[in-house]
């Protein structure tokens, strides 16, 4: 701890070095000095700060360090320890999320649609403590088709009608009324038809006036069954879960644009694992953050500890040119200017032939091509240019 009179002095000193040391370290310094059991004098504060500065500057990396190679190895080596099992209960039994090595490959390949898209939707204060309200939002966004509330169907050739028998239990489960189904079917473009109530309130007879063939009738039935009643495209299931004090919606499927427009959704906390959606809706920097976050998630789940800066280097490289490109033939590696580097990666002959036909020039600036011809690499010691002027006697 420090005397109250010294508090200002500490603040001032920390303010001076705020441009040199990162914020996290300054906060740690402040906390540990203030909370130290013994008393710390002004001179000791000075000494502590000086030692911290010295320690910090001597641990910065030296110019010339092969940061990319180090990052690649730092992620690749724990990667060999990752198991290949892909499924994991994300807290909910029905949802299986891709994790581990396959997910890491998905992220690094910048795949547009992940194999298990998933969203975690937090609700606004008004909605988050009320289970009914949460359920209403979940029902609103879950993509419901006619076929999911249908018990059975049949075709009546005599009157050229499609008969649909609805399941009252499913209707209640999905929060759908018979009128909603009728309304959705009415919107279809199937020529002239009329919807009548059948034997009971849950049966609909859809009679077609101008249907000429039986196959047309079957096609119409298919179309009716796959008609959307409500919900957002892409959200296969929406499940309400209690997370501590609040209710949260976990979805199987992802539709960021749609979800952001739903009332009751806390827009500042919506989470998704679909990189492409985030890049398109929230921008490239958000996409970059998500890449780093998703990779860290994969490694953490496997119990592997990789420093954040290696992961951030990967996400920085992937987003360097303005959109998310994959590390691979159609992205970062494929856009290298060196012919030999591309040829050494994949499709060797094609690259060499095209380069020869075009008259490309190989400049030998990078790592791969210099290794191929046996020259020192322009990193580390290979980056040092010395000249000597022996003293003349």
């Amino acid at each position: 701890m420090i005397l109250d009179t010294d508090k200002e002095y500490l603040e001032k000193k920390l303010e001076e070095i705020s441009s040199i040391l990162p914020e996290g370290i300054i906060n740690k310094l402040k906390n540990s000095i203030s909370n130290y059991p013994a008393q710390i004098s002004k001179e000791e504060i000075d000494k502590i700060i000086e030692l911290t500065l010295r320690d910090y500057s001597s641990s910065l990396i030296h110019p010339g360090e092969a940061a990319g190679v180090v990052a690649a190895q730092s992620i690749g080596e724990p990667g060999t320890q990752m198991t290949l099992r892909t499924f994991h209960y994300a807290g909910v039994r029905e949802l299986n999320v891709t994790l581990g090595l396959p997910r890491l490959i998905e992220i690094v390949d910048a795949r547009k649609i992940p194999s298990t898209p998933m969203m975690t939707i937090y609700l606004t204060d008004e909605f988050k403590s009320d289970k009914e309200k949460a359920l209403s939002v979940a029902r609103k966004i879950e993509y419901t088709r006619v076929e999911s509330v249908v018990d059975s169907t049949s075709i009546d050739i005599n009157s050229m009608a499609v008969v649909i028998h609805l399941d009252p239990k499913m209707l209640q489960d999905k929060g759908v009324e018979v009128e909603d189904v009728t309304k959705a079917i009415k919107k279809l473009k199937l020529g002239e038809f009329e919807i009548q109530q059948g034997e009971d309130e849950f049966t609909l007879n859809i009679i077609f006036q101008n249907m000429d063939s039986v196959t047309g009738l079957f096609k119409a039935r298919e179309k009716i069954l796959s008609t959307k009643i409500k919900g957002l495209k892409g959200i296969r299931r929406a499940i309400v879960k209690k997370n501590g004090e609040e209710y949260v919606i976990i979805t199987d499927g992802s539709n960021l644009d749609g979800v952001l427009g739903i009332k009751g959704v806390d827009v500042s906390r919506v989470e998704t694992n679909n990189l492409h959606e985030v890049e398109v809706t929230l921008g490239l920097e958000a996409g970059r953050e998500l890449i780093a976050k998703e990779i860290k998630k994969v490694l953490d789940e496997q119990g592997l500890d990789v420093d954040a800066r290696h992961i951030e280097l990967v996400s920085d490289i992937m987003t360097r040119t303005g959109d998310i490109r994959q590390i691979g033939r159609h992205g970062v590696t494929g856009e290298k200017t060196s012919v030999f580097a591309r040829a050494a990666f994949e499709v060797t002959v094609k690259h060499l032939l095209d380069a020869a036909a075009r008259g490309d020039v190989e400049e030998f600036k990078g790592v791969v091509e210099n290794i191929i011809i046996g020259q020192p690499i322009k990193l580390g010691t290979g980056m040092v240019e010395l000249s000597m002027k022996p003293a003349t006697r």
Binding site: G64, M383, E385
Partner: protein, 92 residues
């Protein structure tokens, strides 16, 4: 020297003026070791060193005493460069 402080990383470049990177140090020692091994005359008094000293140890001692007449050209990504003389670098 005045243009350096205008750069956004001017302070960073200046902070390295009196330091050698580990890569520069390795390169200098290895180059000097090769010279000595191929018959160059040591620039320090051999009597101050132990009897069975290796070329590399001579080179390390020469660097430590700051008597090597070597300069380093440090290139920046924008094409500019900085020339640093080892003799000016404080004893490492």
């Amino acid at each position: 020297m005045s243009e350096l402080s205008d750069r956004p990383n001017g302070n960073y470049i200046l902070s390295w003026r009196r330091r050698l990177t580990i890569y520069e140090k390795a390169r200098i020692i290895s180059a000097r070791t090769l010279q000595l091994a191929m018959g160059a005359v040591p620039l320090i008094d051999m009597n101050s060193l132990s009897k069975d000293v290796t070329s590399m140890e001579i080179a390390e001692e020469e660097l430590k005493r700051g008597i090597l007449p070597i300069t380093i050209r440090r290139r920046f990504p924008d094409g500019g460069y900085d020339i640093v003389s080892i003799k000016d670098i404080s004893g490492e």
